[in-house]
Symmetry: none
Amino acid sequence: MRTKDDEKKEALFQATIKLVNDIGFVASSVSKIAKEAGVSPATLYVYYKNKEDLLVSTYIDIKLDLSQAILADMDDSLPIRDILENVWHSIFSYVSNNLEYYKFMEQFANSPYSALVDRQAVEQYFVPLTNVMQRGIEQKIIKPVDRHILAAFLFHPVSYLANPRLCQEFELTETDIETAFTMAWDAIKL
Amino acid sequence: MRTKDDEKKEALFQATIKLVNDIGFVASSVSKIAKEAGVSPATLYVYYKNKEDLLVSTYIDIKLDLSQAILADMDDSLPIRDILENVWHSIFSYVSNNLEYYKFMEQFANSPYSALVDRQAVEQYFVPLTNVMQRGIEQKIIKPVDRHILAAFLFHPVSYLANPRLCQEFELTETDIETAFTMAWDAIKL
Amino acid sequence: MRTKDDEKKEALFQATIKLVNDIGFVASSVSKIAKEAGVSPATLYVYYKNKEDLLVSTYIDIKLDLSQAILADMDDSLPIRDILENVWHSIFSYVSNNLEYYKFMEQFANSPYSALVDRQAVEQYFVPLTNVMQRGIEQKIIKPVDRHILAAFLFHPVSYLANPRLCQEFELTETDIETAFTMAWDAIKL
Amino acid sequence: MRTKDDEKKEALFQATIKLVNDIGFVASSVSKIAKEAGVSPATLYVYYKNKEDLLVSTYIDIKLDLSQAILADMDDSLPIRDILENVWHSIFSYVSNNLEYYKFMEQFANSPYSALVDRQAVEQYFVPLTNVMQRGIEQKIIKPVDRHILAAFLFHPVSYLANPRLCQEFELTETDIETAFTMAWDAIKL
DNA sequence: GATGAATGAGTGTTCATTCAT
DNA sequence: CATGAATGAACACTCATTCAT
């Protein structure tokens, strides 16, 4: 028999991301994705159960990749501010080098498919980061507020600024990123 | 008094928002919107050029409404911090009282249709607010950074926190909102 | 606006029957039926809710037509044997003159769609006939057995004999039909 | 002993019948049948030319089995009425004990595949039975009518009454079966 | 102005079958 | 012999839009 072709799965993965970025979530039909990947629509169903599975799997794969990129650079022995600054740069670096991935996540998170993701499982990937913030609160370094509020100031502005769709006419410099982190830190520090 | 025509247009406006909120952007077809508004699909094309026009117009109308709500409460004679705090609360108040509108804007902003909006025209609505921030910078009260970065800390967290879809398991209290504004102000103040 | 075209509905009705007879139930796809009727597949959905509705409605329409044909000729004042002989001939006449209709009913009754029919409503059409048999039992003219068993001998052989698919190489004559009724009567009479 | 091959073929035979009974003729796809039989879809094509061959062969195998069951009990030395009564009971017994087989035949006979069966070959299986009826006619015991008409009263009602789909709300008793045979005999006897 | 009818183009998905191993 | 991968063609159905009245 023919062996399963990892190239095909990778092609579908890339095609999904490319198409969602190029023409949007709604317009990204199964047949267009298959055509972009150079396979038959029917072949897609060899690798994924259905469209939902294709999109959700793609999202989770990226999310895992992102978490690994961030956590790989994390040095728990540093001061909390430094850890978070490193994370901030890691995120920026990841987003810059994988803009397509990032944009896909953005689109996905705002699509109805996002409701189908096992949120808890995904949050597991980022537990070490959550722990750092918890430690910061306990050590009276970070304001003692819910982690969603912290995230709103620490991670969400990054998304906003890195998103060319929302921030079209404005190109970020390295200094802007430094400044932005200072602002984020000012917001959350005690 | 309203003419019959205006009533139909208003019905289409409300139907669009209701449907997008109830069944999502993707599922909101022209015929369903027309049915919800109690008119024929063909009639819709009397008032709007096409589906794109319907959605974009609806978005811009809401955006204008929001800007008016915010600016109506703005008292330029107050200290800058107080102005922005009032704005912050205005936004929260608007979102709370017009959740349907807000959710529609969210959906719209993350759809491919958002690329079709004349962004500059929309930004005009918020010029007085931009001016306040500009004044804050000149008076060395606010950090001298690009207005997009300021917005990333001043307005974007509000959206994020107000979004029940992203912040499902976490209910905001009045104190949370106060705290969040303090954090936002810490981020942008010099 | 365009007015609804009864010709189109009739064309769909006829096309459904023709196709089911020609290529079978399974192969009769919506697009083929639409093409046979000379309309777009989408148009079919103007007249019927879905494929199921198309098939079930077609069946019920025919069943009603058949019942009217049979009952129109029924004269309750005749002796029971004569009534049933008339019915027997009515059925034969109907089947002969509307072979396509009859074959469709056969196909339908043996398809999974038949489960969707409101059987009681359809049986209503034939109540006068059921009553005759009931009367025959009370007057000790007909064997006192369940009406399903009576039907098995009175109506089912007609179906079998009239069905060219089951009875291909054998052509029925007028005498055969007389003979067959005698046999049916022998079976059910006391 | 059975070779490995025969086991696979038998598995496919049983899987075909089971699936057609469980999910219907239309839904019984080749891949589902193969999966039910525990083999690859491709393997199915080692044993059968194609789907048509699979279904037709399965039907013919059952038909042969049925004929053997009926004829095994047939004692040509008995009076004709007794022979036919025995056959009648044999059929009922077979259907009761092999409901799955019977239901498959039903489904098959009303599918377009039934046109592909070599009807003459199948009729060969039942020649001894045909001969009995022929003898009955010659001995002036049975009405001298075409064998199709005889079959319409002798065998077709059995199918109808045994069919749980058509006779849903009505459960046959042993007495009903006796009665029904009496009726069948009344119909065909001179 | 207002409408229901009409439709070509598209949707996600499954099918029977063949291919390469 | 046996297989999972691969696919073109088809499926039922919905879409945004236009037509004729």
